[in-house]
């Protein structure tokens, strides 16, 4: 291969990309995600999904089923399930449990990660972040990316400021997202202890949810329940018991365990009736 060839190729790509970027800049487009839109078009969303899955594979220390092995039945990654509070050890595929189809497959399993492990057990959760950042750059409208990254930054890596900044980026790209507002409200409530801000953001999340989901035949009641529970806990903590009871009452309507919520309401009512 003549050495001038790759240099000429790199120069041509740089000139072409530079020209496109100049045109884009002159057009006054300010969305940072548009660089990828210019280069990749709509295919960037497919890339964003793949990059998000890459982060999930990193979460499993490289152990990940290929498209040939299986498709996740509910369409959610294990990493995203973890942010919702469940995925721990509800699936285990140790080599002894796996059935190899032939001797070659068994032999080949020595050369790639063939045992289910979670990254966080080894304190390496930060390693998923580059892929989540890239996924957000590729598709700024993928809400999951922001909430999942913020969870890991806030809960596991104690990087609250970075989590807030990333969620704010997400909110700028998705102003109507109640999921991002919920995550931001959680951050203010649990990490910053900024009650007025947390309350304002969570109430805005409820408003957005009602506007987007309430009219749907199958609304996202799980998210609504999460927001209400967070808001009720916040009011309870600050001693605003009537408001907490109000939120719990709304939560009872959508909760999968209404009896538990009712018990909580009664406890608060008893507390409130005391002189």
């Amino acid at each position: 291969m003549p050495p001038a060839l790759p240099i000429a190729l790199a120069l041509a790509i740089a000139l072409a990309a530079g020209g496109r970027l100049l045109l884009w800049q002159q057009a006054g487009v300010q969305d940072t995600g548009s660089v990828f839109a210019l280069l990749l078009g709509e295919s960037r969303r497919a890339f964003a999904d793949q990059v998000f899955l890459k982060a999930d594979a990193y979460f499993h220390q490289g152990y990940y089923p290929s498209v040939f092995d299986l498709a996740l039945p509910d369409g959610k990654t294990h990493m995203a399930k973890e942010t919702e509070g469940h995925d721990h050890d509800d699936h285990s595929h140790t080599p002894s449990e796996r059935e190899y189809r032939d001797w070659l497959e068994r032999f080949g399993s020595h050369f790639y990660p063939a045992e289910h492990r979670h990254m966080e057990k080894f304190g390496d959760a930060r390693e998923i972040l580059p892929w989540l950042r890239l996924s957000a750059e590729l598709d700024p409208h993928r809400v999951d990316t922001y909430t999942v990254a913020a969870y890991w930054l806030r809960e596991r890596l104690n990087k609250v400021n970075d989590a807030e900044a990333f969620l704010r980026d997400g909110l700028r790209a998705n102003p109507g997202s109640y999921e991002i507002l919920f995550e931001l409200g959680r951050l203010y409530a649990e990490n910053n202890r900024d009650v007025p801000r947390a309350r304002a953001v969570l109430e805005l999340a409820i408003e957005k949810w009602l506007r987007q989901e309430a009219g749907k035949p199958n609304p996202d009641e799980l998210a609504y329940g999460h927001i209400l529970a967070q808001l009720a806990a916040l009011e309870e903590r600050t001693g605003n018991l009537p408001q907490a009871i109000n939120h719990f009452t709304r939560l009872k309507r959508v909760s999968p365990a209404p009896d538990t919520v009712q018990k909580r309401i009664e406890e608060l009512q008893t507390k409130l009736s005391r002189p």
């Binding site: 291969m1 790759p6 032939d102 032999f107 020595h110 990660p113 972040l129 970075d162």
Partner: protein, 258 residues
Amino acid sequence: MNTVWALANVVVLEMVRRKDFYVLFILTVLLTGTAGSVNLFNDRSIVRYLKEICLLLIWVSGLVIAITCTARQIPAEREHRTIFPLLAKPVTRAQFLLGKFLGCWLATGLALALFYLFFGLVSASREHSWPVANYLQAGWLHWMMLGIVIAFTLLGSIVFAAPSSNGTICFVCSAGMLLLGRHLNKVALSLAEPLQSLLYGLYFVLPHLELFDVRDLIIHNWELIPWGVVALATLYAAAYAAFFLFAAWLIFRRRALN
């Protein structure tokens, strides 16, 4: 054996003089450096994405060096007519092929050693550890895999007329095996007979280059592969390389040189 070594030495010297390796090495360094300079949530200890990018570049560079260098060996000898005086000396065609193979394989090994040294430096700069045995295994298996590719390309350079067509075919076959080889049996099982048996048969016959790709183990700091397994993989690679070289010799021994 001296003849084979002498031929191999010429190939290695030729590869050292050419700019291919240097260009690819500089590109790998530049691209890895650019990826490493990205600020990710103000955390300088994030390293695995960098290891992944660096190893991918090493794998691509390794394939490019192995295939392009091997593909031009015999056609260049023919084109410059140096093959005639060479084979007029007491050099058999088998020795000629073995010398070419050994030269390309050794030169690729030298390139890989430098690439993996760079990878080790990049990794150590952030992880502050130096798992030499793991890197040795990864580099060794990578080199063994390239041995199969070099032997296959040498066979191709006798079968196909132009080095460009040979190079392209070898790239496509190698990339195809690396990407799909592990899944051929699963695809076969989803097919109806007789396609199922045919594809499953191919799955066993084709050389599984992906067996030698242990990048994920290196990136995610997995434990060492048992040395016995590495030895078996080495035998596997040697068997396929020998098969391709034998096939190349069978065709080349009766082939007219002009």
